[in-house]
């Protein structure tokens, strides 16, 4: 896996981007695949280890910089886009990548994320979206589906999740892509495009060439997750998917995306993907459809799986003071564990 640097001559390989630190994720965690994809991709685009800075927040995903033989900052929770903005503004000559989880980027770090996107700073942001808080042992995250039972939501979560692509587009991101940890080829392709997305600020004659990039990577431990669960979008090609590519997407007159059988509507009716069209926004939102694969997170970070699935945050109308209908905490409750008596 070596490649020739664009400048010609310098041959770097995957190992040149591997640090001497032991990788400490749970065996089987999807993060391994993403790390490998990055380390395979970098030699191919011809960038030197010393030109790279990986900045992260806190979380399992955010450990990644330790494993890269580049410059790196393992920062504080949620603030990686801000730290990276400082690096990138101070040093336009560097390649700055931001790494974080769904909690890091979309919960505590949501504001820095959207502002980094809006500002179009010269950074690439990779969000590892496992739809859970891994490091802190399994609380729901802003991308967790409604009803998810976790340690912090024993009765199921109530909150509508973010669709990360919608958030990014709503925040004026100039390059957004979503890929999958089980598909190394697609990951590498997306990362390369992210790397290449280093444009001058649109038509204005700014001298600092800046851009920003978001790739979203969903992790999964289930190796069975097949191709037919994913819709791959390629510029200029009709949006088709399924084991036999028998399904496709059409747009109705309101601009809503619908899934249809291709043989029923004909190939020509199928929407052709245009990366630059504003309605890409609508398509990012085929949530609940096969377009957004539901991933089962790794055992290490999953919440309790057999709690009761009810969805109320609190029971009924909420009186200002607990009325008699709200049971008082009782000695019985404090004793809910076995007790013993010392005489």
């Amino acid at each position: 896996m070596t490649a020739t640097n664009g400048d010609g001559g310098v041959q770097l390989a995957r190992k040149d981007f591997q640090s001497d630190q032991e990788v400490r994720w749970c065996p089987g965690c999807g993060d391994y695949g993403i790390l490998a994809a990055i380390q395979f991709m970098l030699p191919e685009v011809g960038v030197r280890p010393e030109e790279l800075v990986f900045v992260s927040g806190i979380g399992c995903a955010a450990r990644l910089p330790y494993y890269m033989n580049t410059y790196g900052v393992h920062g504080i929770h949620g603030r990686a886009p801000a730290i990276a903005t400082g690096v990138a503004i101070a040093r336009p000559d560097l390649h700055v990548w931001v790494i974080g989880g769904d909690g890091d980027m979309l919960s505590i770090g949501g504001n820095h994320l959207i502002h980094a996107l809006r500002r179009n700073v010269n950074i690439k942001i990779l969000m590892f979206n496992n739809q859970i808080y891994g490091l802190t042992k399994g609380q729901y995250s802003p991308t967790s589906e409604v009803g998810k039972v976790t340690k912090s939501t024993p009765f199921g979560s109530l909150d509508q999740p973010f669709n990360p692509v919608s958030v990014a587009l709503g925040a004026e991101a100039t390059f957004v892509a979503r890929t999958h940890d089980m598909d190394r080829k697609h990951m590498i392709e997306v990362f390369k495009r992210a790397h290449a997305h280093r444009v001058r600020r649109s038509s204005r004659s700014t001298r600092t060439a800046t851009c920003s990039t978001t790739a979203r990577s969903t992790r999964s431990s289930t190796r069975t997750l097949g191709r037919n669960m994913l819709i791959e979008l390629r510029h200029g090609e009709p949006v088709r998917f399924g084991a036999e590519r028998e399904l496709g997407v059409v747009l109705n007159e309101l601009g809503e995306a619908k899934i249809v059988r291709v043989d029923e509507v004909g190939e020509d009716a199928i929407l052709v993907h245009d990366e630059r069209a504003p309605t890409r926004r609508s398509r990012s939102r085929c949530r609940g459809s096969p377009a957004s694969p539901r991933c089962r997170p790794r055992s290490g970070c999953s919440g309790p799986s057999n709690g009761r699935r009810t969805r109320a945050r609190c029971s009924g109308r909420s009186p200002r003071r607990p009325s008699s209908a709200v049971p008082a905490i009782s000695t019985r409750c404090l004793r809910s564990a076995p007790t013993w008596t010392v005489a």
């Binding site: 032991e22 400490r24 065996p27 089987g28 505590i108 340690k151 939501t153 008082a328 905490i329 809910s336």
Partner: protein, 528 residues
């Protein structure tokens, strides 16, 4: 442990002990084989133990797969995974173990590699999943009569909050953002919605503190808990609560710092942060728990002060207390004090309602909650006119309000017990402890006395204000020693307040003192 091992050994495990169970083995077949009719992991029968459910088999299989080890063979390395995990949890050095394994399996290189991989996977699992454990040094079992259960600090703290809400006749509102080692309070309270508890996992610590301020304004007992980095983030909202004079409890389950530091280790290094970690003059009461079970009482006391004086209160716990467990005499809830406060219902200044007209004794302002007719009012973080609460930029008023806020907190000294002093005839040295060092303080005191040397021991639950008689107590001893898991924070406060030459014994290793360490220092100082 698998189901069979659990069945066989459970009766020998003292309450509060830690069980490491291999969840991969808890399938129906194994449960049946072991003779279980229901799954002990979910039926509550292990509630008295700290249970870590770890998928040992599958992780070991995954970890050894790259070495070409077959799943069946990998199974055998599983024990090394468990060993690695234990090393992590008990902060034991790994090198001796590595050497031993290398020697032991020197002539079977594949097995050696597999076992090493499993061991590393175990270590890494502990680190990655932020598993937290220190064995809490259980007091010798000379417990007074009563009914006990085993309880961790975080659970006791959660129950203490619920009990306080009940005794205050208020709903409990708890907002927080997950962080080790405070997350379990959220997990516990989230399960108690049938007691009128509302929990919010906020988008960050700032939002959690902000939501608590809102809930307090709306009439709840509002609580937010976190650990070091989260306390930094909540500072501004807590300052707002100081200015709004609303009741609120901020729990800080301290961990090793600075920055991310040692997130799974214990420390007592946030005391000065609790005291001074807000801009401007923004004093508030600080209370610290001294043992896992005492987290219940400390939470209750923090809530009492918050409600009575309409002020945010910082409640300090630490990782050692939070995750440690001890036998706990179950309190009689009926015997707990009534800490309810009255909401305002009527105008208090002619026809008008003045939100900053204070109770002359406590200096607390009235608490008029939305929904009450005729008491509509606005509060904000800009300086307020004494009485009316209207925005005021007037110099003398600012001085007056600043001193009133300080006097309100200082006045709490009249409402708290004197120093808990364990004196001894002839003692020249006072051992002064706070928070989690109480246990080791009592043990060291016992040990020194057993050597026939007199020593006195005082423990502080209230760190701001100090008990009213602390100055007098300190003056009685020529020597004062303060053991702290920091670089000397309480000793700075005591020195500044009383000009007493309090000496520090400090340790910053992420682990508690050993009694012998404190004992040695006491003896050394006595000799001097």
């Amino acid at each position: 442990m698998n189901p069979a091992a659990l069945k066989a050994n459970l009766r020998d495990m003292p309450p509060g002990s830690t069980l490491l169970v291999n969840v991969d083995t808890f399938d129906q077949r194994n449960l049946d084989k072991a003779g279980y009719t229901s799954n002990p992991l979910t039926d509550g029968s292990l509630a008295n133990h700290r249970v870590f459910e770890v998928p040992m088999t599958s992780i070991t299989v995954e970890a050894t797969k790259p070495l070409g080890v077959k799943p069946r063979d990998a199974e055998r390395s599983k024990n090394f995974f468990a060993l690695g995990l234990l090393c992590w949890m008990y902060t034991r050095p790994v090198e001796p173990l590595l050497d031993w394994i290398k020697r032991r399996f020197a002539n079977r290189p594949e097995v050696l590699e597999a076992n090493l991989a499993a061991l590393r996977a175990g270590l890494n699992f502990g680190e990655t999943a932020e598993l937290f454990d220190h064995p809490y040094e259980v007091r010798p079992a000379q417990l007074p009569p009563g009914t006990y259960r085993n309880i961790t600090g975080n659970l006791a703290l959660s129950y203490g909050l619920v009990a306080a809400a009940q005794k205050a006749k208020l709903p409990l509102f708890y907002a927080s953002y997950p962080i080790t080692p405070a997350s379990d309070i959220l997990h516990e309270l989230a399960r108690l919605k049938h007691f009128g508890v509302k929990t919010l996992q906020a988008e960050d610590e700032i939002a959690a503190a902000g939501a608590a301020v809102g809930a307090a304004f709306a009439g709840s007992l509002a609580v937010t808990a976190t650990s070091g980095p989260g306390v930094d983030l909540k500072a501004e909202a807590i300052g707002l609560a100081v200015s709004l004079e609303l009741p609120l409890v901020l729990v800080d389950v301290q961990r090793g710092g600075p920055s991310t530091g040692l997130p799974t280790k214990t420390e007592q290094a946030d005391l000065l942060l609790a005291m001074y970690g807000r801009h401007g003059e923004a004093p508030l009461p600080v209370v610290a728990a001294r043992s896992p079970g005492h987290c219940f009482d400390a939470a209750f006391e923090a809530a009492r002060l918050a409600l009575k004086y309409r002020t945010p209160v910082v409640l300090l716990s630490d990782g050692y207390l939070a995750n440690g467990a001890e036998p706990w005499p179950i309190p009689d809830l009926d015997a707990l004090a009534d800490i309810s406060v009255e909401f305002a219902t009527e105008p208090n200044h002619g026809d008008e309602f003045w939100p900053y007209l204070r109770d002359p004794e406590t200096l607390a302002r009235p608490w008029a909650i939305p929904g009450t007719p005729r008491l509509m009012h606005r509060v904000g973080g800009i300086e307020k006119e004494d009485g009316t609460g209207n925005v005021s930029y007037e110099p003398e008023n600012h001085e007056k309000m600043t001193r009133l806020r300080a006097a309100k907190i200082a006045g709490i000294a009249r409402d708290i017990p004197g120093v808990e002093l364990d004196d001894q005839e002839g003692a020249e040295l006072l051992l002064l402890t706070w928070g989690g060092t109480w246990g080791v303080g009592t043990a060291a005191t016992r040990r020194v006395r057993a050597r026939g040397k007199p020593v006195a021991h005082a423990h502080l639950v209230h760190l701001n204000p100090f008990p009213p008689d602390l100055g007098d107590v300190l003056a009685r001893y020529p020597k004062v020693l303060v053991p702290e898991l920091n670089l000397g924070q309480l000793s700075r406060l005591v020195r500044a307040e009383y000009l007493v030459d309090a000496r520090s014994l400090t340790k910053v290793q992420g682990v508690p003192f050993r009694a012998a360490e404190v004992e040695a220092k006491i003896l050394e100082m006595i000799e001097q």
